[in-house]
Symmetry: C2
Subunit: 159 residues, 2 copies
């Protein structure tokens, strides 16, 4: 995957705010919309979810997830040309309130100001999705399978 492909991948991940989170629910697929924030090096995809939500209950049972980020449908003739990436990995809850978590909280609030209320509710936590691999569809017939290391290389592209 060359720079001309890594750049739109990095742009897609950085410019989007919502993703479709695939989890296992009693052994069957479940998909929910979540807000996300990627770390600068694409080694972490942060979620902030309530333990009352189905997907959080799912994560507590099985950490395996797929996180799909898709370009918004702009009404173009062929929606199959929309760029999208699916990151697969494991999710772990972030407990505690150390400096790293406080720094994440600031970044999260900058991205999602309306989520301030979730920091006053006991049922919300950050979860970290650590990518195992990714699959980037840059457009029709342009599919790339990436390792976590290759995903990290895309993060080195300037914004």
């Amino acid at each position: 995957m060359d720079t001309d492909t890594r750049r739109p991948l990095a742009r897609l991940i950085r410019s989007s705010r919502i993703a479709s989170l695939g989890t296992l629910r009693r052994g069957a697929p479940n998909v929910s919309m979540v807000a996300y924030l990627a770390s600068a090096d694409f080694a972490c995809f942060w979620l902030r979810v309530s333990r009352l939500a189905w997907h959080t209950q799912d994560l507590a049972v099985d950490p395996r997830v797929a996180l799909s980020i898709c370009e918004s449908d702009d009404g173009r003739s062929d929606p199959q040309t929309l760029a999208r990436v699916t990151v697969r990995g494991d999710a772990t809850v972030l407990l505690g309130d150390d400096a790293a978590t406080q720094s994440l909280q600031l970044k999260w609030l900058e991205r999602f100001p309306a989520s301030a209320v979730t920091f006053e509710l006991a049922d919300f936590s950050f979860w970290r999705v650590a990518p195992r691999d990714a699959r980037f569809v840059a457009g029709l017939g342009r599919t790339y399978n990436l390792s976590a290391a290759e995903l990290a290389r895309a993060a080195q592209e300037s914004a």
Copy 2:
């Protein structure tokens, strides 16, 4: 769920063209973007996919799916207020070329003119997702669990 909730659900399903398809891939969650078309009564969600695609390989092994349709992110302050619905059910491939399939093909081409080429390729087929249940998030904290029958009631709302 009253008319004021069923109507935006019907509008979301009818106005969107793409969905996030959750499947099982070697026992783990997979999510891919797919184009879809809902039947007028919301008893069928049609997909047209290539057997070369990962998600189609997944469906051939395990028919259980989750199909998530989400309002486009319009940059609003709080993305958690975006409306979205997840339909869960089973997918079955549609083989043959009877009158019903030909009628579906016409509707599909009307919705997705650029997909004409897929009707000349042997690896593409229609798949039908039959809803078992659905989960509609009309906005922040407004979540409704629906049976397939309740989903069908939403389809009775005028477009």
